[in-house]
Symmetry: D4
Subunit: 215 residues, 8 copies
C-alpha cells in the first residue's frame, strides 16, 4: 500500500492545485510524491521544505523545482498566466516576519496572483505605517504577518475596510511563547474585519486570500 | 470628560456603521451611547446585550431597538435596503451553536446582507451535511460555528473552494475548556481555506464575511 | 493574637502610607483594621472594596471613608495638599477599562498627585488617539489601561519617550482569558519604554507612577 | 541491586508479554534487559528504540531482534501463530501519522494479531475516506491516528458502530502544540464510541485493541 | 427551519439509539426534541439534564421520562430486554465520583446491558481494592471513574488483562484544575490497557464499553 | 451497596484517624458517614465543610461536632491528650491566608499536637518577620501559608534549618491564577528545605507536619 | 566585583554545607567557586553538573572531586562520619527515574546519611511493591521518584504512616509535559502524608529528608 | 524593496537612539543594517547578538563594534559623555542572572548612564542582601533580575521606596517553565512599587530605567 494518496483531481474539480507539507516527511516520501506528480503532469506547491530536505532530493527532481530557501517553498510546474493587479497586499511587521510573509506571497503566485509586500512597519514607529495609508486602503484583501505582541493587526485593520487575514509569527522570546501571544492578540482584536490562521502559516493566509479573491 | 468616544463618521467614511460591545458596560453607559446615536440619527448594532441589561434601559430607548434575546443583539435604526442573495451561508454544528450563528446572521443583516442558516449538521452523522452539499458549494463565503472538537470546520472547508470563516463556540464541557479546544482545532485544520475569529464571536465572523462580500 | 499587623510607621519612614487589599477580607477584619487606623490617626487606602463589603461596615466607620463605588476604593483621612500638575497621565482604551484606570487615579490622589484621564481611545479608530498627541507627549509618566489585545500599549509607547506603566485589564471574552492575552501582549511590546503590572492592578500602576514621580 | 525488575511471569499469568519503553534508557540498560530475557527465553517488545540506541547494542543481541526503524520497535522472540483476520483496522490521517500507526500494527503483531493499515485519508478530501466505507464498517475495532486538528476521529467514529481507539499524533506546528490540539479534539468528539490514548502512543492503542479483541 | 435534526434512523441502522446532551439547550428545545421522538415512537437518552431543566418540561413529557437526578440522566421509552450478566464492571474511586459512574451505568442500561458498581475504593487504602480482586478479574470490560490524582486507573489496569475505560472526574480542588490532572494522569498511565474519555464523561464511557461488548 | 467505605481500622493500625473531604458530598452522604462513625465510636476530622453543609446536617449530629466556620473543619470525638509543645509552628503571610493556616492548626490538634500561629508577616515589610526570628529558629517543623507571589516560603526557609511545609493559597487576583503562581514559586524556591502541598491544602500540611513529628 | 557570593559560614551556623547548581554556569564560573572553596577548606556539593562541564574543569580541581555521571553530582571534601541506619528509604518507579533518585541518595550522603534505594516498582505490577512492604513500613522518611502518571506516590503513601517526599520526574512523552503531569498528580494525592518538590529535584528531596531526620 | 526600515530620526526627535534585536535576523540582514547606520553616522545598540552571528559579520563592521559576548550586546558609535552617578542600581539574584543584568547595564551605558551591579544576593541567604541596604536605599531606580521563584523582587521592593523594574530570568528547570514562574511571581508581588518586563529582557529594563531617569 502507498504511504500517500494525493487529490490529483483537485485542480480540475475546484481550481485549486495540491500542496504538500514537507516538514514531517522523509526525503524519500517527498521524492515519491514528486515522481507521481511529474508522471501526471500535475502542479504542486511544497511548503516547509527545509534546505536539507531539498538538498537530499534526487538531482533530476531538484532541477524541476523552483525553490525559495527563505520561505522554504518549492513550486513544481509552470505558474498560471499572471494577474498582476488583484488587490492583495502583504504587510510584515519586522524583518523576522518576512518568512511567513513570503510563504504567503509564493502561495498567491502559485495560484496566479501577485501581491506586493511592505516590510518593517511595526507600530513602535507608527509613521512608517501611516506613510503607506494609500496603498493599504486600495487593497481588496490584506495579509498581515506579525509576532511579539501582534499590535499591527489591530492598527492595520482599523485603517481599512477590506478583510484582513492575520498571520501570527513565532518571532519573539520569553513570554511570546513561540507565537502564542501574537495569536491570542489577533483573536481578541478590537477591529472586527480580522480573521486568523495558525502561527507562521503564511501558506494558509495565501490560500484564504486567494479564495477571497475568487469569491 | 465623557466615558465614551464613538466613531460617528465611520459609516460615511468606510460604509461600516458602529457596533457596541455591551457586556462590560453598565445600563447607564449603554443608554448614554444610545442617546448620542439617536441625537445624531446614527445606526448602531449592540452585541452581547444581556436581557437584564436590555430590560434596564429606559423604555423610550427600548422601543427604538430591535432586540433579539437569543443572539443578545439589538439594532438601532433601519436596516439597509435588502440584498437577499449575496452568497453568504451560515452553518451551525449543533443546537447550542445557534447563539453565535444568529449573532453572525444579525450582523450581516445590519450590514444589508441576508444569509440562510443550516443547523444541526455535526459530523457524527455525516449524511446530514452531505445532503446539503449543493447549498454549501453555491455559497461565496461560509460561516461555520461549532464547539466541542470543531471537526465541522475541516469537513465543510474540504467540500468547498470558497473562504470559510470559523467561529469556535464554547459548547462542551470538561476538556473543551470553554471553546479553546474548538479554537485550536480550527487553527490546525488540514483544510487551507479556513480562517478563525475569537470564541463565540459571531459578530466578528459576520463582519469578516461582509468585508469579503464587499471585496 | 491579632489577624493583622500593619506597617503603621511606613508613611513616616518612607513617605508612602499603607494600603489594604479588601477583597479576601471579611467586613469584621476590615473594620478592625480601620479602627486601629482611626485610633492612631493614620491614613489608609482601601482597594477592591466591594459595595457589599462597604455597606457591611459600621456606620461610624463608613462616615469617615471617601468611597468611590466605580473603582471600589475608599480613602480614610485627608488627602495631602494638592500637586495639581505633576505630569502623570492616565489613558483607558475603552469604557470597560475605566475601573482600573480610576483605581490608578485614586491611588495617585491618595499620594497627593493629580492625573487627568483620557478615555475610549482604542486603536481601531486611531484618530481618537492621535488627536491627543500633544497631551501624550507632555506627560512625564503615563498609565495605560487596556484589555482585549492590548495594542494600545505599544501604540502609545511608540509615540512618547516617557515611561509607560501598562495595566492589562480583564475586558474581553473567549480567548482573552480574563486579561491574560492583554498581559502577554504588553510583555512582548515592540516598544521598549513599557513595563507592566498585574491584570486589573490600577493600584499598583498608581504606586509605580507615584514612585517614578518621586524619583 | 538491579536497575530493573521485569514482570517475567506476566505472559503466563495474563497472556500479555512484557514490553519495554526504551527512550529514557541507556544502551547498557537495554542490553541488560535483553540479556535477562534471552536467559529466560522470554519474548519482549521494545518500543521507542531510536536507531542510534539500536546500533549501540551488542551485535549478538541485535541479531536476535526484529527491528523496524520507521516505528522504532524491535521484537525479541517468535511471533505467536497468526490470526490473520481478527477484525482490527488501523487508519492513518496523513503520511506523518504512519509512525504511531505502524507502532500499533507492530504491537498487534507481537500479540498475534494482524491488522491492515489505510493511509492518507485526511478529512480535507473526504472521498478518500468514504471510498473505504465498506472496510471501515467491517472492522470490529479501529485504531485511528491523526494529528493537526484530529477531525478524522469524529468522522470515522460517526461512520461505524465499533469502538474506535484514537491516537493523537504530534504532526503539526504552531498551535498544534506537539499533539495537544489533536488530543483535546478527540476527548471532545461528538461521536461517543471513541476513547483516547497518549500522544503518539501507538503501542497503547495496539494493547487496548488487543484487549478488546480478547474481551 | 428547525433547530435540530436528529438521526432517527440510527437505531435501525446501527443498533445504537440517539442520545441528547441537554446542558446547553433551553427547556423549549429539549421539549421539541422529546415531542418529535414521542411522535416517532423513538427511544432517547437525555444526558446532563439538570433538575431545573427537567422541572421546566411540560408535565405530559415528564411523565414519560425515567429521570435519575444523581446522574442527571433521563430515559424515554422502554429498556431493551435485559442481558444481566455481560461482563462490564464500573469502579468509582470516591463518593464524589459516583455521578459519572452512574451516568455510565444508566447509559449501559439504555443499551440493554447491566453493570455492577463498586464504590469508594481509592488507592490510599489499597486493601479496599484488593478485596475485590476476584470481581475485577472476571470483568470483560471495566469503567473506572476517579478524580484528584487518578492513581486508581493504573492500579486497576495493572491488576486485569481486560480493557479499561477511564473517566477522569472533576473531583478535587486547587491544582486538580477541574479534572485536568486526573485526565493527564490517565493518558500517561504505565498500564497499557487503558484508554480515556473526556472529564466527567460517563456517557461516553458507557458507549465505548457497550461498543466493546458488541465487538 | 453503600456509597462509602471508610478505613475504620486506620487509627488502630497506623495511629492516624480518618478524615473526610466534605466539599463534593451531599449533606445526606456526610450524615451517613457521621452516623457510621458514631455507631463505631470512631473519631473523624471533617474538612472543607461549608457552613451551609454544616447547617443542613441533623441537629443531633451537629451537637456532637466541634465546628470551626473560619477553617471549615469539624471534629467528631475527643481530642487526644495534649502535647502542647511539639515544635511545630504555623506562619501565615496575610490575613487571607489564615483559612488554610487554621485548617492546618485544626488538623494538628486532631492528631494531638498544638502549634502556635504567626499571622501577617508578608515580605513587603520584612521587619515583621525578622522580629520573630527566635521563634522561627526554635521550631522543629514549620508550615508556611502564602498566596500571591509566595516569596515568604523562600525567605522563611532561608532563615531556618528545619523542614518547611509550604501551603500555596488562592489569595490574589488576575495572574495569581487561583494559587497557581504561589504554587509554582514554592516549587522553584532557591531554599532547599521546602516541600509543597496542594493549593489551600492546610489539612495536608498538618498531616505532613504531624508525620514529621512522629518520625 | 565577584560573580558569586557563597554562604561559607552556612555549615558552621546551620550544620548544612553549601550546594551549587551548575547547569546555568560556565566552567570558568564553576572553577572559580571551587577554587574559593578549596582555599577555605570548605565542603561543596555540585548538582546538575553535566559531564561536559565536568570535563572542562582544570584537572587539578577534577582530581579533588568525587563525580557521579549518572546523577550529575560531584562532592568536594570528605563525607561526614557515616550514620548508616537513619531510616530514610528511596523508591524509584522505573529505570529512568534513577537519575533523580540517585541525586537524592548523593545529597543524603553529603549530609552524612545513608539511604537504600529500591528501583523499578511501578504500580502496573503491584506485587513488585507489596513484596517490599516490610522495608517501606520500617522507614522513618521516604523519597519516591516517579514520572508518567505518578501513581506510585499515592500507593506508597497509602501503605505507610511516615512522611513521603515525592519527586516528580520528567520521564514520559506526549502529554507527560516534561514531568508536569506527575507533579500535578502528586499535589492531588488522595494520601495526605505526601509533600512535593520540583520536577527532577532529587537534591531538594534529599535536603528535605535530611532536615526531617534532624527534626 | 528593503527588508528593513529603521527610524533614523528617532535620536534627534526623542533623544533615544535605535536598537536592533538580532536573534531572528541573518548575518546578512544585520550587516545591511549596520552598513546603513555607518553611512548615516548613526549610533546603534545590537541586542541578542549571538557570538556566531557576530563572527559571521564582515571584519570591517566587526572592528567598529564594541561587542560583549556575555550579554550578547554590541554598540556601534561613541557612548554619550558620562553621567557616572545617576541613581540607577542593578541587582542580580544569582550568577546565572548576570546575563540580563549586564544587558541592562549595557543598555544604560548606551544611553549615557552608569549603573553599578550587585550580584548573587538571593533570598535564601538574606544577610547578603541586608548588608547592601544602604546602597539599595540610595538608588533612585532599581533593576532586579531573578529567576526560579523570583522572591528577590518582593524583598528588594519592600526595602525601598524607589521604583523597581523587575526582569524575570529563565534560570531554573522543571516547573520554572523557562522563566514563567518568576514572571508570574513578580506580577503578583505584595510590594506595590514593582513593574515587570518580559523574561530575560534586560534591554527593556534598561530602557525603562533610562526613561524614568529622564522623567
Amino acid at each position: 500500500m502507498s504511504d500517500f494518496n494525493l487529490d490529483w483531481q483537485r485542480e480540475a474539480r475546484t481550481g485549486v492545485a495540491e500542496a504538500v507539507l514537507c516538514e514531517p516527511k522523509t526525503p524519500a516520501q517527498i521524492a515519491a510524491i514528486l515522481d507521481a506528480a511529474v508522471a501526471r503532469g500535475a502542479r504542486l506547491l511544497l511548503t516547509r521544505l527545509a534546505p536539507a530536505q531539498h538538498d537530499a532530493l534526487p538531482g533530476a527532481l531538484r532541477e524541476q523545482l523552483d525553490f525559495d530557501p527563505l520561505s522554504r517553498t518549492a513550486i513544481l510546474g509552470a505558474l498560471p498566466p499572471g494577474k498582476p493587479i488583484d488587490g492583495a497586499l502583504i504587510v510584515a511587521a519586522g524583518t523576522a516576519d518576512l518568512v511567513p510573509a513570503r510563504e504567503a506571497a509564493r502561495t498567491l503566485a502559485f495560484h496566479g496572483r501577485a501581491a506586493p509586500l511592505i516590510a518593517d512597519v511595526g507600530v513602535a514607529g507608527l509613521w512608517r505605517l501611516t506613510e503607506q495609508l494609500g496603498r493599504l486602503r486600495e487593497a481588496r484583501v490584506l495579509i498581515v504577518a506579525a509576532g511579539m505582541e501582534g499590535a499591527l493587526f489591530s492598527v492595520v485593520a482599523g485603517l481599512v475596510a477590506a478583510p484582513v487575514v492575520a498571520v501570527p509569527t513565532s518571532t519573539g522570546y520569553g513570554s511570546s511563547f513561540g507565537g502564542l501571544t501574537a495569536l491570542l492578540a489577533m483573536l481578541n482584536s478590537c477591529a472586527s474585519n480580522v480573521s486568523v490562521v495558525n502561527i507562521d502559516n503564511g501558506f494558509g493566509a495565501g490560500r484564504v486570500a486567494s479564495a477571497i479573491n475568487r469569491a
